[in-house]
Amino acid sequence: MRKEKKRNLHRVKQVVISSLVAVVIVGVLAYVTYGRAIPVLDSKGLIADQERDLIVLTFGLGMVVVIPVFIMLFTIAWRYRASNTKARYEPEQAGNRALEAIWWGIPCAIILLLGIITVVSTHALDPYKPIQSSVQPVKIQVVSLNWRWLFIYPDEGIATINYINIPKDTPINFTITSDAPMNSMWIPALAGQIYAMSGMSTQLHLMANQTGSFNGSSANISGDGYADMRFKVNAMNEADYTSWARNTANKTDTTLLTDASYMKLADDSHDSSQQTFLLMDDNLYNEIIMKYMAPGDSKVSGMHTSGMSK
């Protein structure tokens, strides 16, 4: 009798200690998380909103399996502990067709559902799919360099380094390449990422539905200055955006993006400051891609296209 009392006391002690540990962990985690930006969940764009909904939905569906697993694991383990001699013991039980059919069947059903969701959402959220809108989209060509981002606005005739201004509620059509090792362009508040690869052009469509300044970065290691591959996305009102674009294009003291200044930008550099340029060659983006199509070493062949040095 006393022994049992002692054991119970021990058990209570265990429960108290482990709950305390759990409370401390959760408390600390809450403390270091509270008030921080969580762009994937607190999304600010049309695409990111839908991606967040998808994440929440799959999480919920997963929980349908996870919660029963946890409950079963601990109840079975507790009920059939060796010291509980009252529990039934059937050492020869080797399976049960009906039970097994249940846990082949239920996951199959969930995966079927999830599979349908996958097909539908993958097509709906295909990053290559233009966003339906009555507003004229803004085109931005992106080039990842060592180690900064070059953004070209071909229609506005301007280019920026490490930041972009975009109008809100306007579809943005990115085409993305690299003049460096592979990078991945990710603006978590607005849309998921896509690779930036040399000699290739990928696409990403997104639309901000709020104004604000959002973080973007490279998600794929690209060498020494990889951690500096950060940029800002400033979503602003249509009018602000238009005046910014017009002012930049018309200002006389804006630096020119020429053949020479591009070559300098493309060189390895840890300078991650934001810069603004006047675009001198509408075809720059294509030339950057095409130089990897040339035979021989891409580094040597460089850029010897004409019409760059206006």
Binding site: I55, I76, R81, W103, S198, A219, D224, R230
Partner: protein, 659 residues
């Protein structure tokens, strides 16, 4: 003139390559110092002969298995030390270069990933195969004992190569899979990527040979009567894993081969210009890489199946389901590789296909979890340390499975790819699955191979430190992923508010380190107190054949090869009240002789690897010829076995008191 001789002899190796920053030099010299101390110790205690005769030249899978585990343990400590540095850097005040430079930081995470997968997880898996598979199928040895020794020494050579940069040169900073074009000459001209390539290439060939060896062993050397559907489930998992090795590792060899041709001979398989296609590499490396994940985790599934059945004192629930699930996972694992790069820009149909295939894998995996739980149902469960690892495994692995399914939806993956969410997910699977499985297997089979049990109390402490540390280390990473933190950042914007979470993650790693400390203490203490913990053949009430033989088993495992008539053969044998009163009839046993040739092949392979990394072409030829000639010597030798007579076996058995 002098310069050209120097170039010829030393390739691109220069004295300055031995100069490192203090931190790295410290690690390097500590390792080299430990090695020198060990060598001095061997000399002082006159143990060279013992080392050579009992270990270096052995072809006994049980000893080779122990050597695999020892190497893995040392590498686990190295990988853990790397983790501490990575975590310290990110928890630091995150100003670039305060602790580690970007270059150094990148070398460390590249080494961490490579070492943990190739030299810890793979080492543990092969160690356990060596120790357990022959004993579980009632065999005396593996199919090709010499090949087994070659495999181990190639693995060992790879291990030396990957640690060599601590002393000479630098390691790759292109991540654990070295995606081109970053890993090409244009962006990584140094020796780092070459170290990565050749240490994996050499260890990888060892793995492939081992895979073939154990596949044949399982196919051909099962005890009479043991049909495939009577094999212990761990053997089934080993069978599936070796099948995966045989299909997947040639892809790795070919891929690394092409990358090295690019780097050595200026070819253009994966360069970004001149017709090369880096994305081809990414496809190929994952066509190996995804099955590799299952090569590691299937044996862990096997271990848990044995553990849960033994400690529930009950048959495994749904044996056939378990086998079907294993085979399904084996096949499906080759159909999902693209989910590692949904973000490459493939069309929606392609992405959907690979997303759905990935989810489908969750079905057989989930079935296994339910079957394990129902093995406990109506059982008599004792919560020994192996069982605690099992419980911890189900919890962490289920969480990891959930996050895995979340990432398998391509459009959602665009938000998770290469973020710390992903990092948390795969550590969830590999630590919760493979590492916990290895620990469960280690404490479960430890008495079999030493003759004494591990201390339970210290094992329990270790378990709780690991599971709590694990959660504290990785839950912050999941949250950081949602915050947009990508992996492999040596510094970040301090205004962004990630530092607190990184500090918590660092604390988690330290709790894990305490767990590892308890484990080392546990092994040390148990060896010290071994006389008190001595056990017989069958300390746990085992079910499979390995528990029917002595602990530790004799060199020949089974004096008389058992005849198998049912699944849990040993369990069924024990149930029969009147054990056979017949005197066992012994016969002559053919035992392979020890040979140093496997070790020598490893040495030559190491020479070859080192030479080709540093472009010492004459030494490359020496290494290669050395391997070939040693092999020819072995293959033309007939004197490879000796006979242990029936009388000697009888004497041996009598001495052990088994009769």
């Amino acid at each position: 003139m002098f310069q050209s001789i120097l170039d010829f002899v030393f390739g691109r190796l220069r004295l300055s390559d031995f100069v490192h920053d203090p931190l790295m030099a410290g690690a390097g010299y500590a390792m080299a110092g430990a090695l020198i101390l060990a060598l001095i110790g061997l000399t002082v205690f006159k143990k060279w002969g013992w080392l050579w005769k009992n270990w270096l030249t052995t072809v006994d899978p049980k000893k080779i298995g122990i050597m695999y585990l020892l190497v893995s343990l040392v590498m686990l400590l190295r990988g853990l030390a790397d983790t501490l540095l990575l975590r310290a850097q990110q928890a630091n005040d995150n100003i670039a270069g305060t602790l580690l430079t970007a270059d150094h930081f990148q070398q460390i995470f590249s080494a961490h990933g490579t070492i943990m997968i190739f030299f810890v997880a793979m080492g543990i898996i092969f160690g356990l195969f060596n120790l357990i598979v022959p004993a579980q199928i009632g065999a005396r040895d593996v199919a090709f004992p010499f090949l087994n020794s070659v495999s181990f020494w190639l693995f060992f050579a790879g291990m030396i190569l990957i640690n060599a940069p601590l002393v000479v040169g630098e390691f790759s900073n292109a991540g654990w899979l070295a995606y081109p074009p970053l890993s090409e000459l244009q962006y990584s001209p140094g020796v780092g990527v070459d170290y990565w390539i050749w240490s994996l290439q050499i260890a990888g060939i060892g793995s492939l040979l081992s895979g073939i060896n154990f596949f044949i062993t399982i196919i051909k050397m099962r005890a009479p009567g043991m049909k495939m559907m009577m094999m212990p489930i761990f053997v089934w998992s080993a069978f599936c894993a070796t099948l995966l090795i045989m299909f997947a590792f040639p892809i790795l060899t070919a891929t690394l081969g092409m990358l090295s041709l690019d780097r050595l001979m200026g070819m253009h398989f994966f360069t970004s210009g001149a017709g090369g296609n880096p994305m081809m590499y990414v496809n190929l490396i994952w066509a190996w890489g995804h099955p590799e994940v299952y090569i590691l985790v299937l044996p862990a599934f096997g271990i848990f199946s044995e553990v849960v059945s033994t400690f529930s004192k009950k048959k495994l629930f749904g044996y056939t389901s378990m086998v079907v699930a294993l085979i399904a996972i084996t096949i499906l694992s080759f159909t999902v590789w693209l989910h590692h790069f949904f973000t490459m820009g493939a069309g929606a149909d392609v992405n959907s296909f690979f997303g759905i295939m990935t989810m489908v894998i969750a079905i057989p995996t989930g079935v296994k979890v339910f079957n394990w739980m129902f093995t406990m149902y109506r059982g008599r469960v004792t919560f020994t340390t192996p069982m605690l690892w099992f419980m911890g495994f189900v919890v962490t692995f289920t969480i990891g499975g959930l996050t895995g399914v979340m990432m398998s939806v391509p459009s959602a993956d665009f938000q998770f790819h290469n973020s710390l969410f992903l990092v948390a997910h795969f550590h969830n699977m590999i630590i919760g699955g493979v590492v916990f499985g290895a620990f469960a297997g280690f404490s479960y089979w430890f008495p079999k191979f030493t003759g004494f049990k591990l201390n339970e109390r210290l094992g329990v402490y270790a378990f709780w430190c690991w599971i709590v540390g694990f959660l504290v280390a990785f839950v912050p990473l999941y949250i950081l992923g949602f915050m947009g933190a990508v992996r492999r950042l040596d510094h970040y914007d301090s205004s962004i508010g990630w530092q607190g979470l990184f500090i918590v993650a660092g604390v988690g790693v330290m709790i894990i380190c305490v767990g590892v400390f308890f484990q080392l203490l546990q092994v040390g203490y148990s060896i010290w107190k071994r006389k008190e913990n001595r056990v017989g053949n069958d300390p746990w009430g085992g079910r499979t054949l390995e528990w029917s033989i002595a602990s530790p088993p004799p060199e020949y495992n089974f004096a008389v090869i058992p005849t198998v008539t049912s699944r849990d053969q040993f369990w069924e044998d024990k149930k029969k009240e009147h054990t056979s009163v017949f005197k066992p009839i012994y016969e002559d046993i053919l035992i392979p002789k020890n040979t140093g040739l496997g070790f020598i092949i490893g040495l030559f392979a190491l020479t070859f690897g080192f030479a080709i990394i540093w472009h010492m072409w004459w030494l490359v030829i020496v290494g290669l010829l050395g391997v070939i000639i040693t092999l020819i010597i072995r293959l033309t030798s007939d004197d490879t076995d000796y006979v242990m007579t029936a009388a000697a076996v009888a004497k041996h058995e009598l001495k052990r008191g088994t009769v």
